[in-house]
Symmetry: C2
Amino acid sequence: MDYSSRLAGIRRSMAARALDAMLVSQPENRRYLSGYSAADHGIAESSGLLLIVRSGSTYLLTDFRFRQQAEAETEGLTILVYAKGIFALLKTLLPELGIGRLGFESSYTLHSTAQRLFDLGRLADIDMIPLKGIVEKMRLVKSEEEIQHIRRSVLLNEQVFQKAFKMLPRMETEIDMALEIAAEMRRQGGERESFETIVAAGPASSLPHAVPGRREIEPNTPVVVDMGLVLDGYCSDMTRSFCHGKPDDRYLEIHRLVRRAQLAGIRAVRAGARASDVDKAARSIIAEAGYGKNFGHALGHGVGMAVHEEPRISPKSRKKLRSGMVITIEPGIYIPGWGGIRLEDMVVVREDGCENINTDTTWLDK
Amino acid sequence: MDYSSRLAGIRRSMAARALDAMLVSQPENRRYLSGYSAADHGIAESSGLLLIVRSGSTYLLTDFRFRQQAEAETEGLTILVYAKGIFALLKTLLPELGIGRLGFESSYTLHSTAQRLFDLGRLADIDMIPLKGIVEKMRLVKSEEEIQHIRRSVLLNEQVFQKAFKMLPRMETEIDMALEIAAEMRRQGGERESFETIVAAGPASSLPHAVPGRREIEPNTPVVVDMGLVLDGYCSDMTRSFCHGKPDDRYLEIHRLVRRAQLAGIRAVRAGARASDVDKAARSIIAEAGYGKNFGHALGHGVGMAVHEEPRISPKSRKKLRSGMVITIEPGIYIPGWGGIRLEDMVVVREDGCENINTDTTWLDK
């Protein structure tokens, strides 16, 4: 990845805001700009910050535990290890570097941390400037190199799904299948799940975010599998729904309706289309069939280094899609007591339409 | 769990701060006060907030995806589902309830979210008050019922470890063992790993936070396994180090030194002891043997509903231990190019000493 041109882009954004330097705390943003891939164990346990000086170096500030990883994964950065916490280091470093205006990521900085930054700013005469979504904005439109990474992530994810799907007759419970999927992702070289794999069978499938349990996957009930992995920093996200056994008429009716909605959503995707119109294209089909209240979530979301990122494809989102964005299209119908059906693919927005990255057709067109 | 007496305790803290209501966003705090166990998919994707009104009800504000889970897991709460985001709901709800002073958790609220709260406060004439660690403070000292839960989590974790340890001869790579451990935790009824299991073999074991890779577990090299699970909401955390094969003199020397340091740390634990003195008891043994620079992290940390919580057992932490706290004691020595050894048990602080919850002795006293 071309980190230097990404950093150059960020420095242009900094110049436009008259920032002398900027702290990057959000893990995917950090990785996007440096290659440093450590995850945070929660926002309160950071594995490091980038400090990008507009007319100077880029620093990676981290602690002892991550020094070797930082050195192995990055190039051209100055790695500084703090022994007594990040604030003790910033307190001496920022004045040394002559920083007068410092940006920080408002949407990945705790209120309590921001208070400490403002205190430090008063002490050291530095203006602390909350920033929103500067790196995220760069990440919105993917380069062809990034799309290639995403494609590899999607295809590996499908391979894992297909293997698990074949093993279904030997799986007793949701959790058996979810564990097999998670383990197979890692065996095949995925870094990790991009989110906790959902396997929901029977009535549990009516929970869009069901946690797999020791529930048996019973014959002739709907099953939802929603899964994704991270490969070389890029995420995949796919949902398949099927009936384990012989589907009845109700299942088929709802499944086909969701599929029709998904296809209508996919057909509405193109550069310049409003996200809300894409959502509407799919949602109106479900609403007209009388299931509007059973589709309570947004139609889709962006995917890249984060599994959920901008743009949201929802009734409220007025943003226009741009060529090179990668989004999910995932309508669903959820009926408490019976179950749910959701179908999710990932597509690349192109000038004249979109490219569906998914190739798996399991049960899609039953 | 006795959620009503916990809520009563929080209402007393609110009274002392003249708060009319308080928002609880931190997932473990939320669960501690309500039983609602949903995790957040990152801080920017909340699965709900508690709104505790001092002289009124307790509300759980969440979205459509979590309604069924919220209803199943909680009692006596009013569940409100927001369709258009949490702020739209708060904007009408807070004035209706006559809230004039509202607390929020400064250490689990993003700066950007806090800005929106302050904006809402100006609009609706509500003072927004950042709070620090109120629920965390209640969670510091565990009840005997909680200690019982933690003990069950620790014992299950040991069972999983012992099973994986026996399978070691059949394991080729770090990742095989880490996956087997993670899967076995779930099969045995654990909710999830309390953190990503670390299996680090050979030189990789010199990284305290190593990510398991496709590295082979070679004979006669040090192996570190650091693992924990969540059972009924309570975490375990244990590290074992061993040599896969025949240890050489250097391995044995360092292993025994770490074990001596661990035992010295454990012996220093009692109600009233300063955390820094407990750290020192262990650290001085390692330093005197000339390995002070190879032990770069704190000696331990609290464990409960979160795997890392207060108190920190570090050279800087002047806090006094209290009876009923549960902490880890985990000294380590890390030598780049060779490997690392860390030994970690969990102990309950008691008036006259401590109770070691761990029972596993694998390789401890080689």
